[in-house]
Amino acid sequence: MSGLPPYATKAQTLRYYGLRTLCGLIFFFLIAPIIVIIPLSFNAQDFFTFTPEMLSLNPDGFSTKHYEDFFSNSDWQLAVRNSLKIAPVATLISVSLGTLAAIGLSQSHVPFRRAIMAILISPMIVPLIISATGMYFFYSNPYIPIPFYGKIELPFTLTGTYLGVVLAHAALGIPFVIITVTATLVGFDNSLTRAAANMGAGPVTTFFRVQMPLILPGVVSGGLFAFITSFDEVVVVLFVGSAGQKTLPWQMFTGLREQISPTILAVATILIGISILLLFTLEILRRRSERLRGMSPS
């Protein structure tokens, strides 16, 4: 239905435009809340609504003071630093382990493939509050269970430590890496690795020189998913982390719950910018991957 046929009846025309209007409204519902944040973040007052000066486009109604607050406030800066310290390391762990496992999973004869897949995907399915609860209990007092004996308690704790938060976030990011990389590997031609082996390349060389360049778009988009999962995650870090690991979403969460300050809108605008950037990166990667695999971009 790329257009209205010339012989359309009145009812059909009405339905056609009715549907378009409805869809327009739904798109508005999807996008407007995000767009509205942007002008509001330039409010010169500490209000969360448009002031008369803003509506009359008076320059006095606008200011960048909330942005200045964000860049000068030590709480926010610490939160940004913590987020940037945690997310890349968590991503690195998920991507390296996830890619290896995805390659293993896409071989033709893998025993218990379904069960393994279900376990690896579970961090995405289990509600975050449950993962957070379990990690809070277990990380505060880690132990090695030994069947028919009991458990050996380990003499350290992971709650409130950088390592604990990184491990938790890496686990949450893994399903995304597995899904994207296995999807890329579906189109991978295995005769390429055999050809490489035939020409004398060892498994490591084959992996880095032949397989990796081809599946790279999938790996990178999996990595982006893992990164954003960690960067945007609050529930687990609230439970597993301590004040020393306060991340950007955590700071936003406390800001929203206790007393909502307009600085949050400035932060939100910056984050919207980052997501737009991410969206385009992913789209470019997807097209590149399809071109490489000889599919036409849709």
Binding site: M1, S2, R15, C23, F27, L30, I31, P33, V36, I37, F48, T49, L97, G98, L100, A101, I103, G104, H109, V110, P111, I116, M117, A118, I119, L120, I121, S122, I125, V126, P127, I129, I130, S131, T133, G134, M135, F137, F138, A170, A171, I174, F231, D232, V234, V235, F239, P249, M252, F253, L256, R257, I260, I264, A268, L271, I272, S275, L279, L282
Partner: protein, 501 residues
């Protein structure tokens, strides 16, 4: 048939296959171990905690043993033996400061026990059991000598003759080392050790140095406890302690579904203490409404995207993917700002004279707020699977139906819609799974009415510290989600989960 190296081909192939399997498993193993340790074990730990109940047995070990002989159906408090055990246990627990934790644990089962334990912990040192101490020490100064005590307690014959004293002294000595950082052989034993010694002696045991017991007026521990609080001779308190003395309990699960273990088995909680069934129903109803809203709003969008030419569909797809990629906190703060009483939507409605300035709508901190915000957040998860299913429905089917005389509606309802049902199913389960366990958004925009069971779990972990109940609620929620996940796997297959189109 033989392979090139002379082995049977079948064996050779089997070996190659086995090698391939092992190699695949080697690639998967590091990740599998990582997930098992960092994710699966924590979940199992949570499951275990929902039934684990070692606190009563650990804090009151002697009382639990002594209580085994008490008939909980009798309408009387336990006898002196139990109170003697309780005396030692509480005196030790007060030093370890574990009696308050036990009190708060049992308070979940019976209100008032917490303060009972706290009061008792303070009063237990002032019992008149020092008459035993003084009597023994007066009878022979050796009884006041710490080194002499330590010596006796290493003598196997004396240990065998004085079982209660030995048990109490050992526990006391351990406490002295752990809590006071002193050496037992340099400290005079406390009153409760002498009380145990008297109990042994009164039972006819031979003392290391014989003492004339008839001069000692026995102290009734039952009366001493009753003096602190009448509740100690209330059989209900003892029933609760006995009911929760095994190491594993179903108490948390019963609590999670508004039941309790009373005197005559499992019964409903009193009307004003029933919380969780309502909360579960609330979570279900809200998740269903969010799911319904997502279908209603997502279906037209997915249909439009699937039927537009590729170029414009890709452009419009960005409008779906941008919210999908935007931080959850950003979207939640947007709704918090928009829905406030002094927020943009209310301002707009007042400006358009739809509502009066003093009649501003309350759209936040209630169920409406949660449903609006979560529909917005989860809508892309409905649109994307719907879109990928609709993309595979050939448009020629609709044209064929129409050319055979179907009206637009019949063609849609009888031909197109049934083919899009798998997409609806996949989207619905996905949205339902995601919404039922949501925490952040309801916490921020849900107020008190619009919250989910996950908010109760978080409350019990960080505020009320009733971890067992949190674990039991979590286990129930996890079971529901796992059943849905299993259904999703049957219908869609986990391999087919699509991310971002």
């Amino acid at each position: 048939m033989l392979a090139a190296d002379g082995r049977p081909l079948k064996a050779s192939l089997n070996r190659a296959l086995r090698r391939q399997k092992i190699r695949a498993l080697f690639l998967i193993a590091p990740l599998l171990i990582f997930i098992l340790v960092s994710f699966v074990m924590p979940i199992f730990d949570m499951l275990l905690r929902s039934v684990e109940n070692q606190i009563v047995g650990n804090t009151l070990p002697r009382t639990v043993v002594a209580l085994q002989d008490w008939d909980e159906n009798a309408d009387t408090a336990p006898d002196e033996v139990v109170f003697a055990a309780l005396y030692t246990d509480i005196a030790l627990a007060a030093e370890y400061k574990t009696h308050t934790r036990l009190g708060s644990r049992l308070n979940y089962e019976m209100t008032g026990i917490s303060s009972l334990f706290r009061k008792t912990g303070r009063a237990v040192g002032r019992f008149e059991t020092d008459v035993y101490t003084e009597a023994f020490q007066a009878a022979d100064p050796a009884y006041a000598d710490p080194a002499q005590w330590a010596g006796w307690m290493q003598d196997d014959n004396i240990r065998a003759a004085l079982p209660q004293t030995t048990n109490t002294y050992d526990a006391w000595a351990q406490m002295i080392v752990e809590e006071e950082n002193d050496i037992p052989a340099e400290e005079e034993p406390w009153d409760f050790v002498y009380t145990a010694l008297y109990a042994d002696a009164a039972g006819g045991a031979a003392l290391p140095i014989s003492v004339d017991l008839s001069a000692i007026e026995p102290v009734s521990l039952q009366a001493s406890f009753a003096e602190i609080d009448e509740d100690w001779i209330d059989p209900d308190v003892w029933q609760t302690i006995k009911a929760f003395s095994p190491s594993y309990t179903d108490g948390y699960f019963l609590n999670a579904v508004d039941l309790l273990r009373g005197a005559d088995g499992v019964e409903q909680r009193p009307e004003n203490e029933r919380l969780y069934i309502g909360q579960f129903i609330n979570t279900f109803v809200m998740s269903l409404s969010i799911m319904g809203m997502c279908v209603l709003l997502g279906y037209p969008i997915a249909w439009l995207l699937a039927n537009l030419p590729a170029r414009s569909a890709n452009l419009l797809m960005i409008l779906v993917l941008l919210p999908f990629w935007t931080s959850l906190l950003v979207r939640t703060s947007a709704w918090k700002v928009l829905l406030q009483q002094q927020g943009v939507i209310n301002d707009l409605l007042v400006w358009m004279r739809i509502i009066a300035d003093d009649g501003r709508l309350t759209m936040i901190n209630n169920q409406t707020g949660t449903i609006i915000a979560m529909t917005h957040i989860l809508l892309p998860f409905m649109i994307l699977p719907l879109y990928s299913v609709m993309k595979t429905i050939p448009p020629s089917y609709l044209r064929a139906a129409k050319s055979l005389g179907a009206t637009d509606w019949t063609a849609f309802w009888r031909v197109y819609f049934p083919q899009s049902v798998p997409g609806i199913g996949a989207g619905c389960i996905l949205v339902f799974i995601l919404s039922i366990g949501y925490y952040i958004t309801p916490e921020l925009v849900g107020g008190t009415k619009g919250v989910f069971i996950s908010n109760r779990i978080a409350f019990h972990i960080s505020s009320s510290l009733n971890w067992g109940l949190a674990a039991a609620l979590g286990t129930i929620l996890l079971t529901v989600v796992m059943v849905l996940y299993w259904m999703y796997d049957k219908i869609v297959g986990i391999d087919n989960v699509k991310l971002g189109g």
